[in-house]
């Protein structure tokens, strides 16, 4: 319940923050803090330095211009409440309204969730399915990482140690159909399995392309490429959806735990894939 001592830094600029990270390999960024501080209270994490990003300007804005740009420090509530997000990517707005609990949604940030890469987080799969990308700033300047390349392993991203996510971009998905379905852990509220589905629609009800991603079942948010392959180019029909659901878990390395075995999670991946597709297209 009592964190270890640490040095607290509150830089006024990204450059300063990057410099602190570069000088303190053991430092951690503090955004909403709702993953980091609980770990510190249990002394499962004991960073030497916390770099509080809250005083850095320009990390909270949400802008839409076909594509959607969301500052890394935008909270779940801000994303949920944003008319622009609801218009451009309703699944993202909806998911930000169910993640964690109401207090988590006040503090927790989209950038923080992606950087933390919890294997059972909701937003990792959602952003992955949306084909999002993140802009990061580090000592080498700015670069863009596609969500496809961001999640590397359990709690591990492709960010360099001194890199900071500054914004999340969601491409223009006009006309796309999307939904996120989740089986929630009764205690933690995290996803036992969550499946996010985004279908880009072509003419005559055909699926131009599909992006599906799973969380909770695997070490990191992962694309359901077998299901995507089944869907691409097909029209939306019960049989198509069933075939995609049946293929969804193919090739996944699925983990089990006390609450749900790997077998059951594998089953849920199929069921939730079907339900997400049905809701997206319903």
């Amino acid at each position: 319940m009592f964190p270890n001592r640490f040095e607290y830094r509150r830089p006024g600029s990204l450059a300063e923050a990057v410099q602190i990270l570069a000088e303190n390999p053991d430092a951690k960024l503090l955004a909403g803090g709702h993953s980091l501080l609980p770990a510190m209270k249990l002394r499962l994490a004991a960073p030497s330095t916390l770099v509080d990003l809250s005083q850095i300007e320009g990390l909270r804005g949400i802008a839409a211009n076909g594509a959607l740009t969301i500052g890394a420090l935008a909270t779940y509530n801000q994303v949920h409440d944003s008319a622009a997000v609801r218009q451009a990517a309703p699944m993202l707005a909806d998911t930000c309204g169910i993640v964690g609990d109401p207090q988590v949604r006040v503090r927790g940030t989209l950038g923080g969730s992606l950087a933390h890469a919890d294997p059972a987080a909701d937003l990792t799969a959602v952003v992955l399915a949306l084909g999002g990308e993140v802009t990061v700033v580090g000592s080498g300047g700015e670069r863009t990482i596609a969500a496809d390349d961001l999640f590397v392993d359990l709690l591990t991203t492709s960010l360099a140690p001194e890199e900071i996510i500054t914004e999340i971009r969601i491409p223009d998905l006009a006309g796309a159909k999307m939904a996120y379905e989740k089986h929630e852990h009764p205690a933690s509220g995290y996803a036992v399995v969550g499946v996010a589905a985004v279908l880009a629609m072509g003419d005559g009800g055909t699926i131009r392309s599909a992006r599906l991603a799973v969380t909770g079942a695997t070490a990191k948010a992962t694309r359901l490429s077998s299901a995507e392959a089944v869907l691409a180019g097909k029209t939306v029909r019960t049989e198509t959806i069933a075939a995609a659901a049946a293929a969804a878990a193919d090739g996944l390395e699925i983990n089990g735990d006390l609450y749900a075995s790997a077998d059951y999670r594998r089953h849920l991946v199929g069921v939730l894939t079907r339900r997400a597709l049905e809701r997206a297209t319903g």
Partner: protein, 208 residues
Amino acid sequence: MADTMTAPATMAIQVTVNGSNRGGNVEPRTLLVHYLRDHLNLTGTHVGCDTSQCGACVVHLDGESVKSCTVLAVQANGSEITTIEGLAKDGDYHPVQQGFWEMHGLQCGYCTPGMIMASVSLLQRNPNPTEDEIRHGLEGNLCRCTGYQNIVKAVQYAAGQIGRDAGAADAPLPHDAHRPIHHDGTTPHDPASVDDWEDELAGESDES
């Protein structure tokens, strides 16, 4: 000496708590809940877990509900904080506090301050919540005594009261917010009827 004050490596913070300017030096690792409880002696905010689950520590930080066990005191620097001790105004309970009393929304009382603060925010975001919205809106707060039914009713009571105070003609009366739990609708212990009962008897007494 207060529970968690320490000498070395402290930082100065300034906050407004329940309308008063407060300041002091804290270790950066000091959790906001410990700052409130141990430095400011505002012990109405409780600690019931160490994993940010139970919500007994919920306070308002710049107008929004936060778990004060998951915010550093230094993060609150410059902010406005309301705790359960600051919720009543001019000696009048906030409608949510009143609702908890009227509807028997508490038993041991330990989760209650956090539950009330979370409920106030819930109604700010959604002034007319359905029962389902209330239940989901309180997912950040755990109560082990009440089974939640009377907490739901307390929030419904407050929603009606706030609506009426705001002059909404169609706002449900607190009385209507109470859903009878007896199948035949003759809720003999309907706490809304406590008032009726007291009023009725008071009236009789006045006459006699």
